[in-house]
Amino acid sequence: MKRVGVFVCHCGTNISAAVDCEKVAENAKSFPGVAYSTDYKYMCAEPGQELIKKAIKEQKLDRIVVASCSPRMHEPTFRRCIESGGLNAYLLEMANIREHCSWVHPDDKERATIKATDLVKMAVAKVMQNEALVRSTIPITKRALVIGGGIAGIQAALDIANAGHIVDVVEKEPSIGGRMAQVDKTFPTLDCSACILTPKMVDVANHPNVNLITYSEIEKVEGYVGNFDVTIRKKARSVDLKACTGCGTCIQKCPTKVPSEFEMEMMDRKAIFTPFPQAIPNKPVIDRESCRYFKSGKCGVCQKVCPTNAVDFTQEDELVTERYGAIVAATGFDLFDDSVYGEYGYGKYKDVITGLHFERLLNASGPTMGKIKRPSDGKIPQNVVFIKCVGSRDEAKGKAYCSKTCCMYTAKHATLVREKIKDSNAYVFYMDVRTPGKGYDEFYTRTTDQYGAKYIRGRVSKIYEKGDKLIVWGEDTLLGRPVEIEADMVVLATAMVAKADAAKLAQMVGFSYDQNNFYTEAHPKLAPVETHTAGVFLAGACQGPKDIPESVAQASAAAVKVCGLLSKEEMPTEPIISAVNEAICSGCGMCVPVCPYTAIDLKVIQERVHGKTVSRKIANVNSGLCQGCGACTVACRSAALNLKHFTNEQILAEVDALCL
């Protein structure tokens, strides 16, 4: 016989002013299963809790209903209370008679009391079906995976490694460094990007706890927090990393030139190449798509000239599987394709370029050795027009969001034009100038006041070539006049967009992404580096446009989360999860696609049917992944799936109780 205890709280006068608490407690005595019912002024206070504990013992209560405030407020309190009174914490239900009753019905005590009675009745009906639930634990593998070797990935890896954990960094490109390696100078200090990045690249490469896996991609992710089994595809580099000394002879002798991706195709690289001089590892890779040997079987010069016999044409992609306790996604961003703007002529006019092109033009090891020159004819431009928000803040053709970094890097570019080119003009067409950040607005002010960049508030309607000039038509909306500028070069502040394959990775790992394919944080304010998938964290621009300091900060934050996880031997799991009734499950798999955590898969079981052993598939809930939303329970027609603590039986009982 179940014995329910009901405890009605007055909450001072918060409840009792609008609800007749004594009457509610009195009414509750007649509900099926209720063995004891009482009321008290402050149930959550020490004496109130003692009252409950005492009643559990004296009245031999085996389940408890507390009618008081919202369970979102005090459920943990009362769970602890009945636990120390000797009951399982999950044998508690709360009736919310404060937020949902006394506070919202202050002027109708009779009906508020009826409602409070109903709420208690529902809670009693539910608690009658509650079952003791046990928190279990899962082991934690003490190894972290960082996906992406840009500045965010590097920082996260360093922080995790410095805390004493082993961390693998998987980078798709032949070298770590990411976008920051392409950038020339950084705002607002104008220090050289490479000068601050390369020491970190070296640090991470030399760190005893860090294992760099470059030119590699994630192939498969299975498992869950503490135990992710990740398969990594190490692409065939065609160069034996152990044997190669990085002397560069092969690169020198390679006869095949192809446009360099790193240099935004404004300069050539070889078919065997390192993306940039400070690459790490500073050992080349063969781009098999362009290599003569791979295309025609002839050549092989690199192999011939290699002093250590490191070039290996027979290398094949290699798949390795490793288990990780936590994952940091730091996969970065791509650039928006500006060619959708027919009016700007990007792709048609050689001297209409993106900001990243301009970074390479500024860079001393770039295609122009750091001189700002026009890609078309190598002339030094006098009039440079910058257009902001190209692809950003444009719902019609681009993205609705602000790319956040463009205001600052355009100010930087304008400053550098004015600084590097005598008598030059820098025109900036803008919608708004957004410079929140330490020292940012001061930098922008210097750009306009000290460096004399001309900021024009308005959009550009058309760019066309006239002779060797680019005629830029726009509007100065502050003056309300059309503007025409004879420019030598136009730089588009291009939107940051999610990586083309961002969604693929998210689906593989099983976390979510937004409509722009940026990864979704678990909470926009309070969990900005977590994902909805336990054990997976975010760093850098894969989550949304970010500048370098923000990426670094988020990376360190993600690292702390990883360290917090890896510092434990095991972690407790919430017991409110779905469970499969194997006898009923027909294995139709309807539950699988509705689970947001990929927590359900189908497993094969053996059973005896008419004397024969047969196997059949049934749903299998991974308790490490399930978060207890219950979506699967509704997808399951035969109710083979049920959510603990919110079972079908419990909810039906509540519904029935309401109308008794």
């Binding site: 027919g342 009016e343 002529g345 048609k348 019609a396 066309y464 070539e465 006239k466």
Partner: protein, 295 residues
């Protein structure tokens, strides 16, 4: 292929050669045009400056007649097209508006009959491939800048082509054997009625377009709008005089160029009605073709 045909007012007055050439070309291409009986004015800019409902109801009546016949509507005039398209979209978007309009016009228009630009019909329904096989007098060596004007491909979400850098007319010219010349003024405004009411605003706009066409090295301009035609053709001498320039730049409706390439008689296409001599260039084209034939 059958379409309802909505010529609009301009095509029975200043743009009569657009009407003539459209009908002739459609016939040669085997496209049946069913002229909407007793069609009314689309309302042009006057209606939508006056009253939103009026601006939608006027085109809706024509579209409703086509809908009863189960036909989409082919519309040569860019302005008529824009008004009709706007109506179609608004009716599709709002059931309420659909109801109101139906009450006003006393007919049902649900948006099922689509407003289609004639250029769109030719290029995307019939297809360039089919057109080029029917060309028997290719516009060989004729350098043409395609002038779409401001209405034909806008607003972006309604258009059948890129609103800033459209390509369909250029591709059509290519299919006709001509040489499309890329330029930056494809969708620049011709000034519309400003040439009449405020010539100090309108004329510089015309001037820019003509100069750009000239600088691009074009032999002629192709257009799809009777008002653009008026401005670029009828006003050409006047604008030239004002800026001390002699453009001598023939302007064609794209349908006329199609007619020429399909081997139709230029006179019958209405080309003799132009202000800037356009027959001359057609004659030269034919002579060159003759020389090639004999050579």
């Amino acid at each position: 292929m059958k379409y309802a045909y909505y010529p609009g007012c301009s095509l029975s007055s200043t743009g009569v050669e657009y009407d003539i050439s459209t009908k002739k070309v459609a016939e040669s291409l085997g496209i049946e045009l069913w002229e909407i009986p007793e069609w009314n004015c689309c309302g042009a800019s006057s209606a939508h400056l006056t009253d939103h409902l009026l601006a939608l109801a006027l085109p809706a009546r024509n579209l409703a007649i086509a809908e009863e016949k189960g036909l989409d509507v082919a519309i040569p005039c860019a302005a008529c097209y824009a008004r009709c398209k706007a109506t179609e979209v608004e009716v599709k978007d709002s059931k309420e508006m659909q109801k109101t309009i139906s009450e006003v016009i006393e007919r049902q228009y649900t948006g099922k009959a689509q407003a289609r630009a004639l250029l769109d019909v030719f290029v995307n329904d019939l297809g360039l491939q089919s057109i080029s096989t029917l060309v028997n007098k290719p516009l060989k060596d004729l350098k043409v800048v395609s002038y779409y004007g401001c209405l034909l491909v806008r607003p972006p979400r309604l258009g059948f082509d890129d609103a800033e850098d459209p390509q369909s007319m250029d591709k059509l010219i290519e299919a006709l054997g001509g040489t499309p010349v890329d330029w930056a003024f494809k969708t620049e405004c011709c000034g519309a009625a400003h040439a009449t009411t405020k010539s100090e605003v309108g004329f510089p706009m015309i001037e820019k377009i003509l100069t750009a066409a000239k600088e691009a090295g074009a032999d002629c301009i192709a257009t799809a709008c009777p008002l653009c035609m008026s401005n670029l053709d009828m006003r050409q001498t006047q604008v030239g005089a004002k800026y001390g320039k002699n453009y001598s730049l023939p302007v064609f409706y794209f349908t006329e160029l199609m007619g020429i390439a399909l081997g139709l008689n230029p006179e019958e296409l209405g080309i003799s009605k132009h202000f800037v001599d356009a027959l001359g260039i057609v004659k030269k084209l034919n002579e060159a073709a003759g020389r090639r034939d004999t050579a």
